[in-house]
Amino acid sequence: MTAGHYGPYGGRFVPEALTAALDELDAAFRVAKDDAEFQAELRDLEHNYTGRPNPLTFAKRFSEHCGGARVYLKREDLNHTGSHKINNVLGQALLTKRMGKTRVIAETGAGQHGVATATAAALFGLDCTVYMGLEDTRRQALNVARMKLLGAEVIAVTAGSQTLKDAINEAMRDWVASVDSTHYVLGTVTGPAPFPEMVRYFHSVIGREAREQILKAEGRLPDAVVACVGGGSNAMGLFSGFIDDADVILRGYEAGGDGVETGRHASRFSGGSPGVLHGARTYVLQDEWGQTLPSHSISAGLDYPGVGPEHAWMHDTGRASYESITDAEAMEAFALLSRTEGIIPAIESAHGLAGAMRIGKELGPDAVIIVNLSGRGDKDVATAARWFDIDLGGTVASELSPEMREGR
């Protein structure tokens, strides 16, 4: 298998104008991986800026809804900026400095990667432009405001479906014209080589920590590690810690939207086929002519028609398996975690939680499961309020019955 390929998947399908920049990035990444100074800088940032290691929390009350399996949450939601995305961004920002570039660009769906990139740009004094589909800027208005507060320029993309796919197209167009001064901080384990390998590498800290923590807590490896899969970076980060442990089940949960049978979903493995999108060969939602089909999900971060090529390869080899979680199942898990553990998860992560509920029932009460709680749900409060039809006003005291007012 040649570098950058995972079986038939991965590779580098980009305009020639980007080849030199990808070669430069690849070289800088390989030097940095073996450079003690780079590693020390990255570890220092992870520890003192991101707040790593984050905990592995045993979710006792949530576990009761998972067939009695013991479910642990890897708390990426507690990272600075509120999701796993910061792990990758700090690594790439360090590489940007090393390559002598002064500007970063990024695509974002839910806004978490955009916020993380804007954060790192502020920290390192880099100019920052974030591309975000217009539809997503509406769904995730809070994150748009955060990026702007951090000093980034946010460009709402009006082309195509106005979501993550189109934001990537626009970021690529920017990059082709600006590549001398600009690094494209791609936010997930897809795109042209070396991005899938490099982004996995920067997220592998998730799996490393989780492995050590579960061995300490349970004295053994878990039966299954599960995560939501959009592009698949949080899953790849967690899986990487267990990939060589053949007995550990690796399971990814794709967005099922309204249900795979409705055609309105983002389930590439059950509803897509191998193709080339955004620089890599992988599973893609496409029609019979190879035109990309729009994806659908309540979760902006999973609303993407492609998936990381290493996931595609693990799917084909059977090392990992992938299932769909509908919007309704994800929102049920969202509410359940909030009420049983006092943790409001990102809707993306709620797909992994719904998966834990499903696989827990399959594996039974002795099972140990780790689910990646990849992000926190603050950004999703408005979406959740609409879903659950929550009245955003407080209950007015004078409207309470006399008994309640008196606390009876």
């Binding site: 590779g11 580098r12 399908f13 980009v14 305009p15 020639e16 104008a17 980007l18 080849t19 030199a20 920049a21 082309a159 195509g160 796919k165 990537i168 197209n169 690529m172 167009r173 082709v176 014209a177 590549v179 001398d180 193709g275 080339v276 999108l277 955004h278 620089g279 893609v284 496409q286 019979e288 002519w289 190879g290 035109q291 990309t292």
Partner: protein
């Protein structure tokens, strides 16, 4: 049987001028009108037609071509329709190549696509997101069906990279004038002449310059150092700006005549 691109370049060289290559997407604004537009380009002196295969994610294209391919897709243009447009160009006696992002060709089947294109009289394929490294299957299929493999070089390509790319190329080499996406520019990048000179060190193939060329003066400027001049967005712009099919056909013909004069004005 229409002339292969090599023959067209040789004929232009014999006339001591650069070849003129004009791009329009098949199916834009509809399949039927796109053929009439292309015929107008041929009649007005375009030597090679670059037929665009509309794709949902044209990440190397600027807003003008994006709009055109969106219209073509909305009109229901499929890969079979593109092949049909190529056949009609062939029937009109002109030489054509297809410009397509890679996924539609892979989805169609590389062997099947190469065979269908050959049967329709198409001469070559430009796939801007397919590198020689990823293109081994394509090279075999294209060779088997006598389809030219037109690869791009860019200002950022190193000499070593150019030397490698041209060993995989046939027909001609597409030199991207600037670092950027398609679209008219007020000046063709200064990097273009240097890139053509660097590429010539490694190949005897004709070299055509594209990206940003839109006027007769720019065509003249590029024709001074390149073997071919490629114009795309400017043709699309004329169609988008026209208020009827007949106005679009006459506007495209006018531009083609200006550019054809441009490549002859030395």
């Amino acid at each position: 049987m229409t002339a292969h691109v090599a023959t067209v370049f040789a004929k232009a060289a014999a006339e001591n001028r650069a070849a003129l290559i004009g791009y329009l997407p098949a199916g834009f604004p509809t399949p039927e009108i796109s053929v009439r537009l292309i015929n107008a380009m041929v009649d007005a002196g375009v030597d090679i037609i670059e037929v665009g295969l509309p794709y949902s994610d044209p990440l190397m294209d600027g807003p003008v071509i994006q709009q055109a391919v969106n219209e073509a897709l909305a009109a229901g243009t499929t890969t079979d329709e593109v092949i049909s447009v190529v056949r009609q160009i062939t029937d009109a006696g002109a030489t054509s190549v297809v410009m397509s992002y890679w996924n539609p060709i892979e989805r169609y089947g590389v062997q099947k696509f190469a065979a269908a294109l050959n049967a329709a009289g198409g001469s070559g394929v430009i796939a801007p997101d397919l590198s020689p490294e990823e293109g081994a299957d394509w090279a075999a299929a294209a060779k088997a069906h006598d389809i030219d493999r037109i690869f791009m070089v860019a200002p950022s390509s190193t000499d070593a990279r150019i030397a490698e790319i041209v060993t995989h190329a046939s027909g001609f080499v597409y030199a991207a004038s600037t670092m950027g996406v398609t679209g008219a520019r007020t000046s063709v990048g200064g990097a273009a002449s240097g890139l053509v000179a660097r590429t010539r060190q490694f190949t005897a193939l004709p070299i055509a310059v594209g990206l940003g060329v839109s006027t007769a003066d720019q065509a003249t400027e590029v024709a001074a150092y390149a073997d071919g001049v490629i114009v795309g967005s400017a043709f699309v712009r004329r169609v988008l700006d026209a208020d009827s099919a007949s106005a679009a056909i006459s506007a495209v013909g006018d531009l083609a005549r200006e550019l054809a004069n441009g490549v002859r004005r030395l």
